[in-house]
């Protein structure tokens, strides 16, 4: 069986499979399905300085091979996440987790990062500068290289843990965004966040999602994610955690071939709560069939062409 262990800043992972933020709650919900210690790490639900209820319902719509969501960063706030949610997770998961940080203003990001980066269970931060579902809620940081660099620099200055920046695909030049956050000191990049989409009720003409627009994710966005990871992983020297529509071990391997050093699994956790363990198993089988001994052999395999 191939070696799946990968080391990334702040994360020593037994395998490169990570549930993506917002599709895994704070982890413990999945412990009733399987032993979550099989996971390389996990990205926690987006956390803000203050508690947020988020957007009105409906927050979910469906698309071909994907779904739209507009949750709006619902979370109990950073203090409650540390004192309650992470304590519920502590007995269930022994490796380090990735805290996902959201916000509307730089000061929010900074203070949230300062507090949660001090938590012993947190191995790294994921700076979400690309949430499409919060008005004045980060998206502007995710589409402007200067602002992306600015918030990254500010968070890096206070974080006790490595900082990964989550990039939005809704930009003209994803490489410029990646270089900006690398230059600002990011330890890694996670990508891609959701594509902004909409659906309408044809009877009333009303947008199905109360927030009108939502973030589109699932297999439908996989080819876009592969392309952007391919471009960015060749343009920066920090590791990229690839995500966007990964639904199988084959998808995960294709994403790493594109240049990802690890993968995050999003929507598929919602369709199949057993998605992550299945994907880890499938990766093992495929690597064995391919006669590959170490997962590192396939990372960026496409760059030679």
């Amino acid at each position: 069986m191939a070696n799946l262990r990968v080391q990334l800043p702040g994360l020593d992972m037994k395998n490169p499979v990570i549930p993506a933020s917002g599709t895994f709650g704070f982890g413990y919900e999945f412990a009733k399905f399987y032993d979550i210690n099989c996971l390389g790490s996990m990205m926690l639900k987006g956390t803000t300085l203050e508690p947020r209820y988020g957007n009105p319902l409906p927050r979910i719509a469906e698309g071909p091979s994907g779904m739209l969501n507009a949750i709006g960063l619902q979370n109990p706030g950073v203090d409650a996440v540390m004192s309650e949610e992470l304590e519920k997770l502590r007995p269930l998961y022994t490796d380090k987790v990735i805290a996902n940080i959201g916000g509307s203003a730089i000061d929010d990001y900074v203070e949230t990062a300062r507090r949660i980066s001090a938590h012993d269970m947190v191995g790294a931060l994921e700076l979400n500068i690309s949430c499409p579902n919060v008005h004045a809620g980060g998206i502007q940081f995710g589409t402007n290289p200067e602002m992306a660099g600015e918030v990254t620099r500010a968070v890096k200055a206070v974080s006790q843990k490595p900082v990964y920046v989550k990039l939005s695909p809704n930009v003209t030049d994803i490489v410029a965004m990646a270089k900006a956050v690398e230059e600002a000191g990011a330890d890694g990049i996670t990508m891609i966040n959701t594509l902004i989409g909409m659906r309408f009720d044809i009877k009333t003409g009303k947008p199905i999602i109360a927030n009108k627009t939502g973030g589109y994710s699932g297999p439908a966005i996989f080819p876009v994610a592969l392309r952007m990871v391919y471009q960015v992983s060749q343009a920066v020297s920090i590791p990229v955690i690839g995500m966007g529509g990964i639904a199988s071990g084959k998808d995960a391997i294709e994403m790493m071939i594109a240049g990802a050093s690890a993968v995050a699994v999003g929507c598929q956790n919602l369709i199949d709560p057993y998605a992550c363990p299945k994907i880890i198993e499938e990766m093992n089988e495929i690597l064995d069939d391919m006669g590959i001994n170490d997962i590192h052999e396939i990372i960026g395999l496409s760059h030679q062409w």
């Binding site: 917002g22 599709t23 895994f24 709650g25 919900e29 999945f30 009733k32 399905f33 399987y34 639900k45 508690p51 209820y53 988020g54 319902l57 409906p58 927050r59 979910i60 719509a61 469906e62 698309g63 071909p64 091979s65 994907g66 779904m67 969501n69 949750i71 619902q74 109990p76 699932g218 297999p219 956790n269 919602l270 369709i271 199949d272 709560p273 057993y274």
Partner: protein
């Protein structure tokens, strides 16, 4: 076998009224159901279409069977209605809190339209617990009525139809008043309008089962959170679908 998940086989299927189907599923996953009012979440196809699972209320169940009743309203339910006996479905079962408080002398179960099915197993359970049960079932018109006989076999059952073509003309609340029904606890499932009306008419001693568009059905995506008086929010799929009348925020 995996927790909460399993393949279930369609062992019976019948159209009760136009576009409303009763389906009985057989499989071990049924044993994860612990209370009436819990729901199952079904992967309609093993393809990507439709993409999301479809949450379905449970009409009746035992350790190896689940009876569900659904209406064809879109692509997913249409495909489901075209499945045949013997076909298998990937189901997540035992989801949600369900109805757990059976402490009552005289209870009333209120079902509106597709909210009727979960009331069936609930009525049977209440009766087993020695509670005196009455049922009020609301439909748009006579042609939409289903499961009336099934309820009558369990308890006194009263009908309401919006057009008056069967039972009392009007809502389930009109029927309760018309028949001057007395109760010390009520349980309701139906359209949000109906549930809101129940809460306004009877703010106390009620349990109401709500619907919401769900991403996962097991608490991961926060797609179905609604505001309640008792907490900042509850997830319909985990802390719900059943809420206490006293905690419901109308339009929450």
């Amino acid at each position: 076998m995996k927790n909460y998940q399993g393949m279930m086989t369609i062992v019976s299927k019948r159209e009760l009224v136009k576009d409303v189907f009763e389906m009985v599923l057989e499989g071990k996953a049924a044993r994860f159901i612990q209370a009436p009012g819990q729901f199952i979440n079904i992967k309609i196809n093993d393809s990507l279409q439709p993409y999301l699972r479809r949450p379905m209320s449970i009409c009746d169940y035992d350790d190896n069977h689940i009876t569900m009743i659904f209406k064809v309203v879109g692509e997913g339910t249409k495909i489901l209605s075209q499945k045949n006996i013997g076909d298998q479905l990937d189901c997540l079962t035992g989801l949600g809190n369900g109805f757990q408080d059976f402490q009552a002398k005289k209870a009333i179960v209120i079902g509106g339209g597709l909210g009727v099915p979960p009331m069936y197993k609930l009525a049977k359970t209440l009766k087993e617990q020695g509670v005196e049960v009455q049922a009020v079932l609301g439909f748009n018109s006579k042609d939409d009525v289903f499961y009336q006989e099934e309820f009558m076999d369990i308890c006194p059952t009263f009908l309401a139809t919006m057009d008056g073509s069967a039972g009392v003309q009007g809502t389930v609340l009109d029927a309760i008043q018309a028949h001057q029904l007395v109760f010390d606890k009520y349980y309701a499932c139906g359209p949000e309008k109906m549930l809101d009306a129940c809460v306004m008419a009877y703010p106390e001693n009620g349990y109401l089962s709500f619907e919401a568009r769900m991403g996962c059905g097991f608490g991961a995506c926060m797609g179905c959170s609604c505001k309640v008086k008792t907490k900042p929010y509850k997830r319909i799929c985990v802390e719900g679908p059943v809420l206490m009348s006293s905690e419901v925020i109308i339009g929450g």
